[in-house]
């Protein structure tokens, strides 16, 4: 772990509220990575052995649909995390992910972070408090999209 990495991670709002001790523990399992556009980070059903904090660039979550190829479900940009399937068994990715542009990110080793969660309840609780809003926000966004808000309304009046 380098002080530089800790500074980088704490500079982004997602982990900014983490106590310094916990931040150092987390960053001990992280490293800086750079990917070109079009790089596949993981595929549906694969081992959820990592997660990423995007510093710059964009990542698309996708799902392979027979006959239609990889369908983009959502894009994630700078400051957001990619991946929370590592938190819960069976530790498999529900979707795939690929970079849409050159990406700079911090990648964390999920098994090691999980191990720290198991052995240090304060660390584990902090991780859950950080990642639960990610899960709920993405669920809420998905529900909003299910409403198809911008679709042409059913003809009900004269307008």
């Amino acid at each position: 772990m380098s002080a530089d990495l800790t500074d980088r991670v704490s500079a982004l709002p997602f982990f900014a509220g983490l106590a310094p001790r916990l931040l150092r523990q987390l960053c001990a399992e992280g490293r800086l990575v750079r990917y070109p556009a079009g790089k596949r980070l993981f595929g549906e059903g694969g081992d959820a052995d990592r997660f990423w904090l995007i510093e710059d660039g964009s990542v698309a979550l996708d799902l392979r649909v027979p006959g239609r190829g990889d369908q983009v479900i959502e894009t994630l940009g700078a400051g957001t995390v990619v991946g929370w399937s590592w938190l819960h068994p069976p530790y498999r990715w529900s979707f795939g992910a690929a970079t849409r542009s050159p990406v700079q990110a911090v990648v964390f080793a999920a098994a090691a972070v999980r191990g720290r969660c198991d052995t240090d309840p304060a660390f584990g609780y902090a991780m859950l408090r950080l990642f639960t809003p990610v899960i709920t926000e993405r669920l809420q966004a998905t529900r909003l999209r299910l409403l198809d808000l911008y679709a042409t309304p059913a003809p009900a009046g004269r307008s």
Partner: protein
């Protein structure tokens, strides 16, 4: 209500004949009509206000202005409306061609009060055709650019094909505004963002303490957008939304557009979120 209903004037009671002088197809179901008076011109509109447009023999509908010509341009009598074909009246208006005559009454309703954003960052959040009533805000701000702080335009749409004013938004981006676009359903070849418009708010570059936000789109989208803006730190009184109800008379007489203590045609459509939130979150209101 303590406010007295305004007296009906010629411009507000009787549709004035306006001739379509230009028709631009924006999307498969949306057009922008430019109309000019055949006889009596209506008073000048302000950003956020709406006209009751008449398709003769079919009915009339409230449609906000989507651009305002200035007297300097010598076209102040013209009205510009972007409308989507969703019902009998809007389908008839959508079908209007240059030379056809439609009716117009107005101007009605409250304005976006763009001048109150002078000295502030301006955040515009549009969902679907909600970009149309916001376009005059953008025009006004960019026409007087040095008086405003950062200008951020966040646009959500169903598909790339449903996005309005794409060329214009590209120019606005080149002119220094931060423009971000996101769609629910990407098409082949779409390289932009995918998701809901609220996800564009956290990474956008503006200072919440000195921001005025203008929001227009489906009501649920406006609710979640306002919540996201407030969560970011923008005070609710500085988040403005444009509400839509069943406007008929346009002057607060008929009561069709009542929303609790408000008559949206007169007290709206533009209302700050501090006042509108308690109303739009009530079922059946």
């Amino acid at each position: 209500m303590s406010a007295r209903a305004p007296a009906l004037e010629a411009g507000s009671a009787v549709p004035q004949p306006y001739r379509v002088i230009a028709r631009h197809t924006d999307t498969a179901d949306t057009v922008t009509l430019t109309i000019e008076p055949d006889a009596v011109p209506l008073e000048r509109f302000a950003p956020g206000q709406f006209a009751m447009l008449t398709a003769y023999g079919i009915g009339e509908v409230p449609i906000s202005v989507s651009a305002i010509a200035t007297p300097e341009q010598g076209r102040a009598r013209r009205l510009v409306h972007t409308l989507r074909a969703v019902g009998a009246v809007t389908r008839a208006l959508h079908a209007a061609r240059p030379g056809d005559v439609i009716g117009a009454r107005g101007p009605f309703g409250t304005t976006w009060d763009v001048a109150s954003a002078v000295g502030h960052d301006v955040v515009i959040v549009a969902g679907g055709i909600g970009l149309a009533p916001l376009r005059p805000v953008l025009h006004a701000v960019l026409a007087d650019r040095p008086r405003y702080g950062r200008v951020v335009v966040l646009i959500g749409g169903r598909t790339p094909a449903d996005l309005l004013y794409r060329e214009e938004m590209a120019k606005i981006s080149a002119a220094g505004a931060e423009v971000a676009v996101i769609v629910d359903q990407p098409a082949d070849g779409w390289t932009g963002q995918v998701g809901v418009v609220t996800t564009l708010i956290p990474p956008a570059h503006f200072d919440p303490d000195r921001t005025v936000a203008f929001v227009c789109g489906p009501e649920i989208m406006m609710r979640f957008t306002a919540q996201a803006l407030i969560a970011r730190g923008v005070p609710a009184p500085r988040v403005r939304v444009s509400l839509e109800r069943n406007m008929r008379c346009g002057v607060g007489w008929c009561g069709h557009c009542q929303l609790g203590p408000l008559l949206v045609c007169r007290d709206g459509p533009v209302i700050d979120y501090a006042h509108s939130e308690p109303l739009i979150s009530v079922r059946e209101l």
